[in-house]
């Protein structure tokens, strides 16, 4: 009996087979477990032994029946992630309130001078005023004071409240006015200034304060002033309510944070590209320098820090046998994937916790190390099991070997191994010649993008959003799936998922903490998958395709953990279809799905090598 063992960055897989003297194989089982430690380090032994014992137990065999354990020659590829925000929105002088409270009051547009409610009755009659109400005021008192002032001739045209009382106050006013509430830092609203308050009807958005000439009309601005306030209009676009205060030099700026340049070396050249230029420009530069030798970030800049951090983590992880970290300077970054993303962030200077979507860049970097210590793992496995342990062929070649056991697949074939840290492609020609590449960015980056774009702040929830379909809980007893179908349940849902967008995990619905609707979450999820895996599939396949031409490919087989995803395979197949490529999910040995390709490839290769005549 032989066992093939494939130690991946995330998962360790095993394939058990009986090898007959004539070289023919009978497969007895397959299994997998979480990889222990960093791939290529002695820590892997624990996981390797566990998976071998598991596969034996499930096949009802004893460890002493194993003759040879075949280990993959782990490609020493590890990867790191970093993300940097490149824009920042700042409100100066409390020019605007743009936080979109769920229950504003009244409707319409009004302009007046800001006056604290404490000073309301002292106002001269007739002059329009916007009443500003600090925290702690009771809604009945607010309404009484405003009504009294109005009765006394003060023209109260709108109000801005600290608490969530807008509807309560409006309901009690003798004359309805637009009211914006939940302005946490209402005490910072400048008093004695001209201000405009706009509240739209339910389901509508404001039209005047979100338009530059609307602001100009309201505040009677000259062209220069209009130019100065136009970022305010843009910042308020899409809100149901807003307040704009005209202060002498108030402003909203969407500042670009200088991020610095990436310095890329490859193909005998060195090119620099500003991270600000965006993912597309960065990736075009990467494409021009193939194969990449190393990447640095301009020292002293954000991107410099980003890459240094990636390198530091790696050096820490890649300790030598002596326990010494590999010096960061010795670590070469052999590929990067840049992805444009956005991060919902609280606006600096905001009065009500305003959130702006800031632009950001995510970088996945891939490092090749020279220090695989798989022999140590092999020695320990051999000692523990009392069997031979061999280190087998190259990962890419083995993966193709396994993929070829998928029904309907033939050479020439390309495999795409969609893992956690890297996306690996390998091509085998009709003559059995194999080429392989590894590119940075895979499942972990998808999870990270989902996490930050939805501001979840929880990797586990983000991983759940990636893995499982969504639903909206519509009552205590039913939910609506992503596709609009409805499902009823006997037991009530817990209140914390009521009316929420949820992820349908096998353990039940888990809420996704977001103000956005199901469709937004779905779009973020699919876009993250596509920006990582569709981009990387094309990038990696171009590197192995004859002449870099995707049309030269026939069959593409998707392998690895991320090929189990419920939509990544179709996203990739959709992208590759126009090139005449048949693309689908691997079904290793006709039974294992996209798992176990390398492990079973190791077994196949071993059988071929020990068989009397070479395998076809």
């Amino acid at each position: 009996m032989v066992v093939g063992v494939d130690i991946g960055n995330s998962t360790t897989e095993a394939c058990l087979a009986e090898l007959a003297p004539d070289g023919s194989l009978t497969y007895l089982g397959a299994d997998l477990t979480r990889t222990t430690g960093v791939k290529g380090t002695p820590d892997n032994t624990v996981g390797a032994l566990r998976v071998v014992r598991d596969v034996l137990a499930r096949a009802g065999r004893r460890p002493d029946e194993v003759h040879t354990v075949l280990l993959n020659e782990a490609t020493p590829v590890i990867s790191g992630l970093a993300m940097e925000t490149i824009t920042e929105t700042i409100i100066t002088e409390s020019t605007m309130i743009g936080h979109n409270p769920t229950t504003p009051g009244g409707e319409g547009l009004a302009v007046g001078t800001t006056v604290s409610i404490a000073d309301l009755t002292a106002q001269p009659p007739g002059e329009p005023v916007v009443c500003v109400v600090p925290a702690g005021w009771d809604f009945d008192d607010v309404a009484r004071v405003v009504n009294a002032a109005v009765a006394g001739g003060v023209a109260v045209v709108a109000a801005v409240l600290a608490g969530d009382d807008a509807v309560l106050v409006t309901n009690r006013l003798d004359r309805a006015v637009p009211v914006v509430d939940e302005v946490r830092a209402v005490e910072k609203v400048p008093l004695g200034m001209l201000a405009a308050v706009e509240v739209a009807a339910p389901g509508r958005t404001i039209r005047t304060l979100s338009d530059s000439y609307g602001l100009a009309s309201v505040f009677d601005l000259d062209p220069d002033q209009t130019r100065a306030v136009s970022p305010v209009a843009r910042a308020l676009t899409g809100n149901r309510s807003a307040v704009v205060v005209r202060t002498p030099s108030g402003d909203v700026t969407d500042r670009r944070i200088p991020v610095g340049e990436l310095v890329l070396r490859g193909a005998g050249r060195e090119l620099r590209i500003d991270v600000d230029a965006g993912a597309e420009a960065i990736m075009a530069t990467v494409a021009r320098l193939q194969p990449l030798d190393d990447v640095h970030g301009e020292p002293g800049t954000h991107v410099g820090g980003m890459l240094a951090q990636v390198r530091d983590t790696m050096s820490d992880v890649l300790r030598g046998a002596d326990g010494a970290a590999q010096p960061a300077s010795e670590i070469a970054i052999r590929d990067v994937l840049a992805v444009d993303t956005f991060v919902p962030a609280e606006v600096r200077g905001g009065l009500a916790g305003e959130i702006a979507l800031e632009n950001a860049v995510a970088l996945a970097a891939m490092v090749r190390t020279s220090r695989s210590r798989m022999q140590l793992v092999a020695d320990q496995v051999s000692a523990e099991l009392g069997a031979r342990a061999e280190i087998g062929g190259v990962e890419g070649e083995m993966a193709v070997g396994g993929a070829l056991t998928t029904p309907g697949v033939d050479r020439p074939v390309a495999v795409l191994d969609l893992g956690g840290g890297s996306t690996d492609a390998a091509l085998m020609t009709v003559d059995g010649v194999c080429t392989a590449v590894h590119v940075a960015g895979a499942g972990e980056l998808v999870t990270k993008l989902i996490d930050s774009e939805l501001a979840l702040g929880d990797r586990e929830v983000a991983e759940g959003v990636k893995w499982h379909p969504l639903a909206k809980v519509e009552s205590f007893f039913h939910l609506r799936h992503e596709d609009g179908t409805v499902q009823f349940f006997d037991q009530p849902f817990p209140p914390h998922v009521f009316a929420r967008v949820v992820v349908l995990t096998p353990d039940g619905p888990v809420p996704v903490e977001t103000r956005h609707g199901l469709d937004h979450v779905r779009r973020v999820r699919r876009a993250a998958k596509s920006r990582v895996f569709v981009v990387n599939a094309v990038r990696a396949l171009r590197q192995v395709a004859p002449g870099g031409d995707l049309r030269a490919l026939d069959f593409v087989v998707l392998l690895g953990g991320s090929a189990l995803d419920f939509e990544i395979p179709e996203l990739i197949a959709d992208e590759l279809a126009p090139y005449g490529i048949v693309c689908g999910t691997g079904n290793v040995l006709g039974t294992q799905g996209p798992r176990n390709a390398v492990a079973s490839g190791l077994v196949r290769a071993h059988a071929a090598a020990s068989s009397p005549c070479p395998a076809g």
């Binding site: 769920t102 229950t103 809604f139 969530d164 009382d165 807008a166 509807v167 309560l168 309901n171 519509e474 009552s475 205590f476 007893f477 009530p492 209140p495 914390h496 009521f498 009316a499 929420r500 809420p511």
Partner: protein, 107 residues
């Protein structure tokens, strides 16, 4: 939504409960129930069964508040106030009840 109050229910609590619902735009109907041994949860459940919107709030003599839905099991209210509840908590229960009616997250 319907609010059942026991004779001793504190006015301050009731005011905040109703305010929480009003801010969300949902009307409340106050019902006085005769003195009985029921706690807030029981009152809320009865109120929910009484309500055409199936959402009820109960305020007992001790000032405890519970929110219930007509289809939930009697012993499993949607939310209740804790032991040291204050005006903000009372307001929150009214808000929660209204948001069940509106099909919005309770949070």
């Amino acid at each position: 939504m319907v609010v059942h109050r026991s004779p001793g229910a504190p006015a301050a609590v009731l005011r905040e409960v109703c305010a929480g619902a009003e801010e969300e735009g949902v009307p409340t109907e106050l019902v006085d129930v005769p003195d009985q041994p029921e706690d807030a949860v029981g009152l809320a459940h009865a109120a929910a069964l009484d309500s055409p919107l199936e959402v009820g709030v109960g305020v007992d003599a001790a000032g405890a508040v519970a929110v219930h839905h007509g289809k939930l099991p009697a012993h499993r209210p949607a939310t209740t106030t804790g032991p040291d509840a204050g005006p903000r908590d009372w307001r929150r229960t009214g808000r929660t009840a209204a948001r069940i009616v509106k099909g919005l997250p309770l949070g």
